[in-house]
């Protein structure tokens, strides 16, 4: 028995971590939860295509998609831990500096808007829009109760996101003019779009920031008011450029893409790929 165990152990140990030659190729995609549905859907479609066309298993491309946030995506691809990073924001100056040696390249596939969202109960109570200043004061902690902006008498649950998240960068850039603004009014911090959506839906007086594709019955988007003008995050407003908080959805590579990665990116930019972008709720990049 001991001999069997010893043999097994040696067998595993002696053959440590070879870069195996005989397995099917794979590309690893990590990053923004906003871009993730695009990558996942494209991956699924591609897998189906390979199965239908009866690619040999050893030749089938496997596409691994994982969340983590824009910051994680950028970092991951810069360090070579993944083949593609997903980002829903621009690469920040400090990131460009940190990863100078990686020669990051941005490949945009779609456009998205960040909506300021509130719990459906507050929306139903009448709040349909806020000014930039009001949102700023809420996140600074100066406005604490919904009644101060014309809503019900309820304390505001200010939901923020982790600092590296793409959605936060873009939202804060608009509200504060600073993508990494500090928000003393925060009550709760969330991570992915899913988590933010969940926490706002679970609360009945929350405010947060969310990709407009994630808006739902429980989590409603409000318009941005500027004097008399109210702009709601609708497809038209985004396409026309009226809605102020928009961002590119991109895939990032370290250096020029080649091989399977290049093929995948080209697929995403093709009409079929752009259709995937639309199906995910975003606007194709054209």
């Amino acid at each position: 028995m001991l001999r069997v165990l010893l043999f097994l152990w040696v067998a595993i140990g002696v053959n440590p971590f070879p870069a195996s030659a005989d397995h099917s190729p794979k590309i690893e995609i990590v990053g923004s939860t906003t871009v993730l549905p695009i990558a996942s859907r494209a991956a699924e479609r591609f897998e189906k295509f390979q199965r239908v066309e009866k690619f040999k298993p050893s030749h089938r491309l496997r596409i691994l998609v994982n969340a983590g946030g824009s910051g994680v995506g950028i970092h991951s691809v810069a360090k070579g831990r993944s083949d593609l990073g997903m980002a829903s924001r621009k690469i920040s100056p400090s990131e460009r500096k940190r990863f100078e040696g990686s020669h990051l390249k941005v490949h945009t596939v779609g456009v998205d808007a960040v909506a300021c969202v509130i719990s459906s109960e507050i929306y139903d109570a009448g709040i349909r829009d806020l000014t930039r200043q009001e949102i700023r004061d809420i996140y600074l902690g100066k406005i604490r109760n919904w009644k101060e902006v014309g809503g019900p008498d309820r304390k505001i649950v200010v939901v923020d996101k982790e600092r590296h998240r793409g959605t936060r960068h873009v939202f804060m850039d608009f509200i504060f003019g600073n993508p990494i603004a500090k928000t003393p009014g925060t009550i709760l911090v969330t991570g992915s779009n899913n988590e933010e959506q969940t926490k706002i839906a679970q609360s009945d007086s929350a405010i947060g920031m969310l990709s407009y594709a994630w808006v739902s019955d429980e989590v409603r988007a409000i318009g941005i008011r500027d004097k008399k003008n109210i702009v709601n995050p609708t497809r038209e407003a985004i396409r026309k450029g009226d809605y102020p908080i928009v961002r590119n959805l991109s895939f990032i590579t370290a250096g020029e893409p080649s091989g399977e990665v290049k093929a995948f990116l080209e697929y995403l930019k093709s009409p079929e790929g752009q259709q995937v972008v639309e199906e995910s709720g975003y606007i194709p990049f054209t």
């Binding site: 595993i12 971590f17 691994l64 998609v65 994982n66 969940t198 679970q202």
Partner: protein, 282 residues
């Protein structure tokens, strides 16, 4: 109220608390069952997951968890066995034994996220195993080392002294003693340890979430450098979407499977421990 009544009252109160605490397990099981059962459609255990985990089954996640667990035990067992044998049979100095004991306690108490982070740094980056099931198994192996050691040590220390005295009287070398007396007699400790180690590795999330897993894209790992989907990390992602009832149901279903696995392994460890112990004592 005289003191006798007071005491009876207190004892009664305590008994209620005990019943409550004991039913805690039942409550947890009931909650997981009640929420998880609806998700367990007939194909749950053998289908792949679909639609970001909102539908389908958890087959590959289950496989991933099993792979990590088994790999962990395979790597950990020789080291656990060897180190305990050394400490009980060869090591004579009390200080040495004390150091080993402290180290084992230290390993056991370490927060598992640290295993994950440092383990990834060492196995994944330094030894270039990357984010893979191999890295995960190695990390888990280090983590469950104390668990295995405890069971093996218990079995060896339960061995009556006569065995070793007889062995020495017969002129057997320490190695022969180990081979012919100790291991055969302490077999049950090894098996028990293995099952408890499997149970512990199965439930662990923080240690592997950075080092071994992927949410999508991999079915069966095809090489040593592939990450795997696991029940634990699948649940972690789904839990963050708790407002969506379908996703939540899937998370509960996966939770039910995971919990059942862990409980099953623990109970198996008990059964094997008592049965084999009886056989060894015959």
């Amino acid at each position: 109220m005289n003191s006798a009544t007071f005491e009876k009252g207190m004892v009664f109160f305590l008994s209620i608390l005990t019943v409550l605490v004991s039913s805690l397990l039942l409550i947890i099981l009931a909650a997981v069952f009640a929420r998880g059962l609806p998700a367990l459609h007939s194909g749950f255990l053998i289908e792949a997951s679909e639609d970001f985990g909102r539908a389908g089954g958890i087959f590959y996640q289950l496989v991933g968890t099993l792979i990590l667990m088994t790999g962990a035990v395979l790597v950990s067992l020789p080291v656990a066995l060897g180190s305990v044998i050394y400490q009980t049979q060869y090591l004579k100095s009390e200080t040495g034994k004390e150091i080993c004991r402290q180290v084992a306690q230290m390993l056991n108490a370490t927060p598992t996220i640290l295993f994950g982070l440092v383990g990834y740094l060492f196995f994944g980056v330094y030894l270039e195993a990357g984010v893979s099931w191999v890295t995960g198994s190695l990390i888990l192996a280090v983590m469950i080392l104390p668990t295995l050691q405890v069971s093996i040590r218990e079995a060896i220390e339960a061995l009556p002294d006569q065995y070793q005295d007889t062995g020495m009287a017969l002129g057997l070398s320490p190695w022969s003693q180990i081979k012919t007396i100790i291991i055969p007699q302490c077999y049950y400790g090894i098996i028990t340890g293995v099952f408890l180690g499997l149970a512990r590795a199965a439930g662990e999330t923080a240690a592997i979430m950075f080092a071994a897993t992927t949410f999508s894209g991999i079915r069966f790992p095809e090489s040593f450098s592939d990450p795997v989907p696991t029940l634990q990390t699948h649940m972690l992602v789904l839990t963050q979407e708790a407002a969506n009832p379908e996703t939540l149901a899937q998370a509960w279903g996966a939770g039910l499977v995971l919990l059942s696995l862990v409980l099953f392994l623990t109970v198996m460890a008990w059964i094997l421990r008592s049965r084999l112990k009886m056989e060894a004592e015959l």
